[in-house]
């Protein structure tokens, strides 16, 4: 969640508090490099989960679940203790299974590979295995792409049994995903786009020029140490709906609190800051939702000042991001165009005392409270349509998430995502117990991805309504001019009742929209 103030250079726009904690951020795949020395480098650590049900189902300290697909999953406990010990070395290297290459059986069996290579076939990044050992493999990928290109065409997808190979060409940069995760082509292609965006965020598109000068240019040194950023992004592909919805999400806050936070950030407007963002916990969301996602994914240290590029804002230019953690969960990002602004911004923070004002005005406490209470819970869905709550913050309405184990909503409702089209924001319900484990959640997100891809088909979409039933779920989707609703039900749910429940969800979201969405802030001009 975050508060954000933004605008074109000195044109500051209104702000509010955004939130992005709806995810199961206490179930994080271990992939990231840890800044061990930094106490608040909680970048990829899910601290307290926003949903008590999740914590209670999997809240054992540092359990590391290694599945047969090689996806290592850490279930952090409520104190945010991360696993220590044997696997630490691997963490710090920031890459798992670095000893593997394309000759290893284990490597071949990984469920989802990502590769970045140059147009001359030089490896730049591989999710698994040592890039240098994968030079031959990388050359093969390059050969496939250029062979089809020489024939006057462009390869997009190769399908073989459960496997898909997806290609994306971005100038001199080739990106390839090899996956048997059953995600649709459109989703995987979108993930490659984000992966490219993450690279641009670190380097800007001016790297293209290096390739113009020298086609055999070796990019790996430029990206040194950023493995963790890519791993974390790849991890979020199966954890964070923002990656396929292209929208961000906000922490529920009373309207007045968000207004107050926005006003506080507004004060830095005169200091050359392009955007000011107050974020919380795991990072998702962006200025353009995708930019915010990539930026949030990049942030990992307690206080830093780094050059970054927002690919959707301006892929050719660097901005400078000043990051400051206000507490374990909450951090402030100031974006400026000036590379000399570090001390100025540090000062600006002190001068305006954002920190103290935020905490005096109780914003930080409210943020913490909301974090512990979590987002929308399906078992709170008002069953009686006449009983509108109007607010999530009525007395006794919200409880600390640990005290509640949601058992699923009415009529077999398991989960929903509501996306407001104009606001570029979505709200996603907390997970109830039938989908409490990371693998269950991943499966649900993948089902949503298929639903999303099918609704938004490029040729014939968007469709208006979809009902989809398989052995796992009944899924319902509406796409209207104003919003999109994605809802998952038990596979035995009755169609008629499920439709009624969906209508209630929409009504509920509308009733509390001032608290779950950031209104009137995202008037950026691009």
């Amino acid at each position: 969640m975050l508060t954000e103030t933004g605008g074109e250079s000195s044109n500051m726009k209104a702000s509010g508090v955004w939130m992005n904690n709806n995810n199961n951020n206490n179930n994080i795949e271990v992939e990231g490099e840890r800044e061990v020395e930094s106490p608040s480098s909680s970048g990829y650590v899910g601290e307290r989960g926003s949903s008590g049900s999740v914590s209670s189902a999997s809240g054992t300290d540092g359990i590391r679940e290694v599945r047969d697909d090689g996806d290592a999953v850490v279930d952090d406990d409520d104190d945010g203790v991360n696993l220590v010990g044997d696997s630490q070395g691997e963490w710090i290297r920031g890459k798992r299974h670095a000893d593997e290459d394309d000759a290893s059986t284990s490597w071949r069996k990984r469920k989802k590979h990502f590769f970045i290579l140059s147009h001359s076939g030089k490896p730049i990044y591989s999710r698994y295995g040592d890039e240098h050992k994968l030079a031959g493999f990388s050359a093969t990928l390059q050969a496939i792409i250029s062979f089809v290109e020489n024939g006057g065409d462009r390869v997009k997808l190769v399908r073989a049994g459960k496997h898909q190979v997806i290609f994306l060409v971005k100038g001199p940069i080739y990106l390839v995903c090899i996956s048997c995760t059953e995600e649709p082509y459109e989703s995987l292609r979108g993930q490659l786009e984000l992966l490219y965006g993450q690279m641009i965020l670190i380097l800007t598109r001016s790297v293209d020029r290096c390739f113009e000068k020298n086609p055999k240019f070796d990019m790996t040194p430029l990206l040194g140490g950023t493995d963790a950023v890519f791993s974390s992004l790849i991890h979020s592909f199966s954890q964070n709906p923002a990656t396929f919805l292209h929208a961000y999400t906000c922490l529920p806050l009373a309207y007045a609190t968000r207004q107050a936070a926005g006003a506080i950030l507004q004060d830095v407007a005169d200091t050359g800051v392009v955007f000011a963002i107050l974020m919380c916990k795991d990072k998702k969301a962006s200025l353009h939702p995708d930019d915010m996602l990539l930026l949030a994914n990049f942030v990992m240290t307690s206080e830093s000042f780094s050059p970054i590029c927002l690919p959707r804002y301006n892929p050719m230019a660097f901005l400078y991001a000043y990051v400051h953690y206000l507490d374990v969960d909450t951090y402030l990002i100031l974006l400026t165009a000036s590379s000399q602004a570090f001390f100025h911004l540090k000062e600006c923070r002190q001068v305006i005392r954002i920190e103290s004002v935020l905490s005096k005005s109780n914003v930080l406490n409210e943020v913490q409270r909301s974090l512990s209470e979590g987002g929308l819970r399906i078992d709170d869905l008002p069953v009686d349509p006449s009983a509108r709550s109007g607010s999530l913050f009525h007395l006794n309405q919200r409880r600390p998430s640990e005290s509640v184990v949601a058992i699923g909503g009415p009529a077999g409702l398991l989960h929903f995502i509501y996306r407001s089209i104009y606001l570029d924001q979505y709200v996603s319900s907390e997970f109830a117990s039938p989908i409490s484990t990371p693998s269950q959640q991943k499966r649900l997100y993948r089902a949503y991805q298929r639903l999303y891809a099918s609704m938004h088909d490029r040729g014939v979409g968007p469709h208006k309504t979809q009902y989809r039933r398989d052995e796992n779920y009944v899924l319902l989707c509406w796409v209207t001019q104003d919003f999109e609703l994605y809802a998952a039900f038990d596979p035995l749910a009755d169609k008629g009742v499920a439709i009624r429940i969906c209508n209630r969800v929409c009504q509920w979201v509308k009733d509390v929209e001032t608290e779950i969405f950031l209104l009137g802030a995202s008037s950026f001009s691009w």
Binding site: T140, K162, H163, R450, K464
Partner: protein
């Protein structure tokens, strides 16, 4: 990986490329051409042909790294789709089609793959397996000339003017590789049963099979489902009364009664085929079972053709023979036609010790013992036949597929053409989605129901080995209404196979 083997001169102008290659051949550098057993268009320069084969082989090898049990099935590029089918171990068929929205070249991969499957299974039915012919003549000349004539004859059915009309999104309510059944009343069914018994007894101890068609619909079969599909496909391509009376062939409603003979001559001109029942390519005698206009009805009601040659001396055409898929038995094919009724008898070659003589005796027996029954059955079926739109269900456009028995039923083509392009495109997509989903879950209980941009409902259901696809264009806007419409259809026409309760 074969990728570097050829100069890449593929041009994007070819709307259709089709090739068959054998990965066991041409392993050495400079011998790559040996791999290619068939290529269309044949006049494409060799480097361009090798480039298609090289890419295909490269990706087969590449995908096996990750997916050893199922190699490359499709390559989607911006302008082309490459559809793969491993017809026999190491023998691959690859079809490359250009995409083009303006010319409605919008494809569903599985529909294209079913064309490849049909080519192969028909080929095997007439000539035996590709590997067998390769083993017979390792030089490859034999198989090449067989494949060439066979596939060119097959493709001629898709030729309109000088363009190939492959099954595109407009054919989404059809399922190639299935048979369409005639629904018969109880009384007629008993008559048919009795006729089948009589046919059996005509064949005596020969352990033969019979297939009965009425118009373009299957009435009865004693063959296995796979062999039935092959024979049925051949029947409606070349044998039924409608085909014979039209003097050439028809393929579908689009092409009804036109173009085909003209198409063939265009093809023949293009590729220098002689207008003979067999051609001698590379000194091999080649049967052309798919050649147009080669079947006719004799005075005695039996269908005759000289495709299989003529007996020296008496000018009596040789009886056709085919191979059964499962048993790999060679069978005589003997077809009899009375009005709209076509009866195909298959008799094992091994049980006919006296060959052609035995066949004439069998024919004689059939005329003596069965013709009365045949007439009676034809009359009954003709009376009960509801015409071209017999299986139209008002308000619905549908396709029902029974995957276990390879049977399908669909709205009549004429009715499907009333659907808007948008609905058909949405259906095509839903079918593609459904193909993937069925493949993914291996599940048999799936449902997708979409309200498209143009407000039509597109519904796909799978249950108990069956699939149902429905388009409702004039339906109410609620999902419940659409679901109810499907339930009604399921209860009335599918014995409730898709009903929820």
């Amino acid at each position: 990986m074969g990728l570097s083997s050829a100069a890449n001169t593929t041009t994007t102008s070819e709307p259709l490329k089709l090739c068959i290659f054998d990965l066991r051949r041409g392993q050495h550098e400079g011998e790559e051409l040996e791999k290619i057993l068939f290529f269309f268009p044949a006049d494409l320069p060799f480097p361009a042909q090798l480039s298609v084969v090289g890419l295909s082989e490269g990706l087969i090898t590449f995908t096996r790294i990750f997916s050893p049990e199922a190699a490359c099935e499709v390559i989607e590029a911006e302008m082309h789709s490459h559809v793969f089918f491993e017809a026999e171990p190491d023998i691959w068929m690859v079809m490359v089609v250009a995409k083009n929205k303006e010319t409605e070249a919008i494809w569903r991969i599985e529909a294209l793959r079913s064309v490849l499957k049909e080519i192969h299974s028909l080929f095997v039915m007439f000539h035996g397996s590709i590997r067998m012919l390769l083993d017979k003549e390792p030089g490859g000349g034999l198989i090449r000339s067989h494949l060439y004539t066979f596939i060119m004859d097959y493709l001629s059915d898709f030729l309109m003017g000088n363009k190939f009309l492959l099954p595109n999104f407009r054919d989404s309510l059809k399922e190639r590789g299935t048979v369409q059944m005639l629904t018969v009343g109880r009384e007629a069914a008993i008559e048919v049963q009795s006729l089948v018994g009589t046919l059996d007894s005509c064949m005596g101890n020969a352990l033969g099979y019979s297939v009965i068609l009425f118009q373009d619909l299957l009435v009865s079969t004693t063959l296995s489902p796979d062999d039935t599909v092959n024979l049925f496909s051949y029947g409606i391509l070349r044998l039924t009364q409608r085909i014979l009376s039209s003097g050439g062939s028809t393929w579908s409603y689009l092409r009804k009664g036109n173009a085909s003979s003209h198409a063939e001559s265009a093809l023949d001109r293009l590729h220098g085929l002689q207008d003979g029942s067999s051609v001698r390519g590379d000194n091999f005698q080649i049967l052309r079972p798919l050649q147009h206009g080669k079947w006719s009805k004799g005075k005695d009601g039996f269908l005759v053709t000289d495709i299989w040659g003529v007996e020296v001396g008496n000018l009596v055409p040789t009886t056709p023979t085919i191979w059964l898929q499962q048993t790999e038995h060679k069978m005589y094919l003997c077809a009899y036609q009375h009005k709209s009724l076509t009866i195909i008898l298959l008799i094992p070659v091994t049980s006919m010790l006296n060959g052609e003589e035995g066949i004439s005796m069998l024919k004689q027996q059939l005329l003596e013992n069965a013709s009365l029954k045949i007439h009676k059955v034809e009359e009954k079926l003709a009376k009960g036949w509801g015409g071209e739109n017999a299986y139209h269900v008002k308000g619905y456009r549908y396709l029902l597929v029974d995957g276990d028995s390879n049977i399908s039923r669909a709205s009549p083509s004429g009715k499907v053409t009333t659907l808007t392009k948008e609905s058909l495109l949405a259906l095509n997509k839903v079918r593609e989605d459904f193909d993937l989903e069925r493949n993914r879950t291996k599940g048999d209980d799936l449902e997708i129901c979409i309200r498209a941009k143009n407000n039509s409902w597109v519904i796909a259901r799978a249950a108990r080995g069956k699939q149902l696809y429905i388009v409702l264009e004039k339906a109410n806007e609620t999902l419940l209404y659409a679901s109810e419409a499907v339930e009604k259809f399921s209860d009335r026409y599918c014995n409730g196979a898709f009903s929820l309760d």
